[in-house]
Amino acid sequence: MIHEISGGMQKRLGIARALILLPEAVLYDDPTAGLDPITSRQIVDLISAMKTRYHMTVLLVTNDLNRAFDLATRVGFLYGGDFMKIGSPAELANSSIPELQQFIRGDIEGPLTQKGLN
């Protein structure tokens, strides 16, 4: 039964279930949250391998910047109900937008916290 297997196995099962009909696009909601780094790496590799093998479009929502930058062709930074920036990982990393810089650095003080961050 489901509760008898680990979190990482449950995540992989969830991915298998989503992929079984070989969809053109897959939506992932924070696929690595709560996983240890070793399992997290396995999941990212799995997502990447499936995308390449079946030419799937991947739309992935995450807080994990490293994963986003590893996997993505494009990254969108969502703030205040709209995309503040969409671009390649390098474009985002080099962006001078103060909110984005604060997010990437994880600074406690900055425009995001002044305005109230969700």
Partner: protein, 253 residues
């Protein structure tokens, strides 16, 4: 102080804790690290008596808990706060009532004005604005719910805090806010913190000591610096991930 002496805990056929022993000193920040499903949360549940060991001893503040009655455990739970992995807020109560729940239940004689003051104070510590107080849990994002659950635990001013994956699902800014809070509570108020986490990066930043768990026992116990130079294979594996987090972004610039 918290001490485990040869604690064994089994679920069905599976022995999760296999004679585990360790000590956590007052005011220390200790990270418990290990792979998913290794029994990290099980350790926390033993510290507040939600689980009892099959054998061995669990000592908290000079008392051995394994034979404590529920009433005796209640006294421990007033001083030892637990922040669960999932927010576990009460859906039918407003955010204010959720945060005030513990303080009202434990100290019913406390005046409402003081309850308000305590709730607002903790809210500010967690980057939450007072306009969330009248809302219900379902109206908040996961990250906000998680911080509300932290505020709910802090409101009783516990002397020891147990965190189960406190930053999972949080963005980098709120991750650092929570880490900074754990650090401040420890340094300013001598609050002991036991943090179960996968995040070696956070552990290296704020832990006084890291316990690495594998196969039901502690396989490495030391300061962040000890862990960086550890020859333990699992420690090295976790460390690679942490280094990538620290240096990864720079590499891409």
């Amino acid at each position: 102080m918290i001490e485990f002496k040869n604690v064994i805990k089994q679920f069905g056929e599976k022995q999760v804790l296999r004679g585990i022993s360790f000590t956590i000193n007052e005011g220390e920040i200790v990270f418990v690290i290990g792979k998913s499903g290794i029994g990290k949360s099980v350790i926390l549940k033993h510290i507040i008596g939600l689980m009892r060991p099959d054998s061995g001893e669990v000592w908290v503040e000079g008392q051995e808990l394994s034979h404590f009655s529920e009433r005796q455990l209640l006294a421990i739970r007033k001083r030892v706060g637990m922040v669960f992995q999932y927010p576990a807020l009460l859906d039918s109560l407003t955010i204010f009532d959720n945060i005030a729940f513990g303080i009202r239940a434990m100290t019913p004689e406390k005046a409402e004005g003081l309850v308000h003051q305590a709730v607002k104070e903790k809210l500010g510590l967690l980057n939450l604005h007072s306009d969330v107080l009248a809302r219900f849990p379902s109206e908040l994002s996961y990250g906000m719910q998680k911080r509300v659950s932290l505020a709910r635990t802090l409101v009783l001013n516990p002397s020891c805090l147990l965190f189960d994956e406190p930053t999972t699902g949080l963005d980098p800014v709120n991750t650092n806010t929570v880490n900074d809070l754990i650090l401040r509570l420890s340094r300013a108020l001598k609050v002991t913190s036991v943090v179960v986490s996968h995040d070696m990066h956070c552990a290296l930043q704020i832990a006084d000591r890291i316990l690495l768990l594998d196969q039901g026992v502690v396989v490495a116990d030391g300061t962040p610096a000890d862990m960086v130079y550890s020859e333990n294979q699992l420690a090295a594996q976790f460390m690679r991930e942490a280094k990538e987090k620290i240096y990864g972004n720079q590499d891409r610039r």
